[in-house]
Symmetry: C2
Subunit: 367 residues, 2 copies
């Protein structure tokens, strides 16, 4: 079956509606079985239609990375949003958060220092206590977040400044490597448990314990965690495929591309084709353990060895016929969150037929 | 002097107008001195105001990567555009190219195979001969393009199909590595000379020989080349800085960012701060030879060791005080062409004061 509709010009992001819905339903069921709340990360897709599917499948609310994303999803009906980021709230962000609160959006934000808590409280003024504040705990990713041992001091500063400390969260980003998901899930659980115990002993009521990423979300539990925040699971991508967190049948997002240049390798270089999808539609994330800059759905044994802005160099196995010039292939990006942030609209298909176009409404909302 | 205006929220792309104009004028003067035409690559900036500055400094026309970019710059007054890409022209692209030709835009496009030439001629119909076709020659980058020895066969197919073969072009992309610019410039010259000689001997009139990239453009000549197509020179970036093709004073584009998390390294990890600029505004290109994912203008000895979508992890030298939480810094992206493609607008400053906002009109025009 040819899955790139003929009327599509390339490069173009295609979303397979049936695979998307299956991914959304499966994660919702898995998380429900564990008795956890699902608060999917909407930075992955940035599309209100997909958020609506997640919410109607039982998500309790959305996670986002920026105030701008919160604004877009709130405009489209989301009423419970967690900005899972250690925000530094100056006057501009304070004004925007205030507007969301006054529109009756239930908001939570991240904090990982007394300074950020005090800045937030000062900028938000009388509205400071209306948001839930979740302390970011470092569970081994060593990006932002504090050690569990530092949680009480930050919580006390935040509370003293007038913020409502509702709980803790962590992002086990170190789960994105081969052999790491189970270990990272254990560290995530241990860090949240340690911080929660210390906070409880210090008199805080830890209502929300938020964890999870696509690699670890289905591993979590039985657990102290009250909610998980996976994002990428809606589409899958080449990273998840190579980490064995999904199969090719679970891939809902591909980039339709055309073979624009073809080289049989008589120049002493590898046999290769050049596709018209480059870093300006695929994104250029490439972890050291990845086989390349994405995968080709129709030829999973081909390797994307280089990416320019509008070229993907795809090296072909020696015994397989090179695709013809003009042939159209579907590329699985390494990291879907970046690919979605590069286009204004996506084409939605079912059985290879176009059924809709969705606007990537929160694209570029970086602040 | 504090160069991030207070009213700016972060992350935000800042363009220093004076540095930009100096870069544009310097490249124009250098290329003029060599007697070459300057046809700057507008995919770097995607901003009509910057294209206008380049054209009024003497550029003969623009280079772009996609039909969509050609459309945007044509709408804004460019009348001579080279799409330096081996286009596979199906019915949709043919219709759009035809519309540009009928609006009296002088168009050139790239071709690197008989099949693409025939497809283009067939799709364009009666208008096929109205464009200049430039054969793409591989001068050592081994991406798209043909060996000089293959030029005559492709040119003959293109001419037989009814296309006007006006010349040849190459992109010495392998110049983007330490120690490579001079060697790549020599290979570029040799490949164009070889292809040009073969074509001339076969009876073709090679009017246009197009070369150049920011690393090699100022190295070219005395030369057979008739035009150069540098792009990045308008802004500079961390790659150009580390290749010693520009100095920090030549950097016209930075991303204003805020320290949102700060770690003295008591967790056994490096002393680091986290900035609120990640891969969704900096882009995640990172060549193996680069020191990291960009540089911090105010602290060139700091190292951006990791990039998430909204976090840059910046490791600080042991003997230097970590910046404070809330402090604002300017990040130099590794690859400006990707950064510009991630925002809808940029802030233009002079001496740290906002003087304009420019729309990135061709952002996302991938096809």
């Amino acid at each position: 079956m040819h899955l790139i509709p003929e009327s599509i010009d390339t490069p173009e992001i295609l979303i397979d509606r049936d695979v998307l819905v299956r991914n959304i339903d499966r994660m919702a069921a898995t998380v429900r079985t564990k008795g956890l709340d699902l608060r999917p990360h909407a930075k992955t897709h940035k599309v209100p239609e997909i958020a609506a599917l997640q919410l109607s499948a039982g998500a309790v609310g959305l996670t986002v990375a920026t105030v701008g994303e919160a604004e877009v999803f709130a405009e489209h009906g989301a009423d419970d949003v967690f900005i899972a980021y250690p925000l530094w709230v100056g006057p501009q962000k304070a004004e925007r958060l205030r507007r969301l609160l006054h529109a009756d959006i239930r908001l939570a934000v991240g904090v990982d220092s007394p300074e950020a808590a005090e800045m937030m409280a000062q900028s938000m003024g009388a509205d400071a206590g209306q948001m839930d504040v979740l302390l970011e705990i470092d569970s081994g990713h060593h990006r932002s977040g504090i050690a569990p041992e530092a949680a009480v001091a930050v919580a006390e500063s935040a509370a003293a400044a007038g913020l409502h400390v509702a709980g803790i969260f962590t992002f086990p980003g170190h789960s994105y490597a081969p052999g790491m998901p189970i270990k990272a899930a254990e560290q995530e659980e241990a860090a949240l448990a340690a911080a929660s115990n210390l906070l409880t002993n210090a008199g805080f009521h830890v209502e929300r314990l938020s964890g999870g990423s696509t690699p670890t979300a289905t591993l979590t539990g039985p657990s102290l965690v009250t909610e998980v925040r996976p994002g990428v699971y809606v589409f899958g991508d080449a990273q998840q495929l190579e980490l064995e967190r999904c199969t090719p049948e679970d891939i809902a997002l591909t980039v339709a591309a055309t073979v624009v240049s073809r080289h049989e390798g008589t120049d002493g270089m590898p046999r290769r084709v050049i596709l018209d999808a480059g870093s300006k539609i695929l994104g250029s994330d490439r972890p050291a353990w990845a086989t390349g800059f994405g995968r080709v759905m129709e030829h999973l044994d081909a390797r994307i060895t280089a990416l320019s802005e509008h070229h993907a160099t795809v090296v072909w196995p020696p015994d397989v016929t090179l695709p013809a010039l003009g042939e159209r292939l579907r590329v699985i990006p390494n990291h879907v969150c970046l690919a979605m942030n590069l286009v204004d609209e996506v084409t939605v298909t079912a059985d290879g037929t176009i059924i809709d176009r969705w606007r990537v409404a929160a694209r570029g909302r970086n602040k």
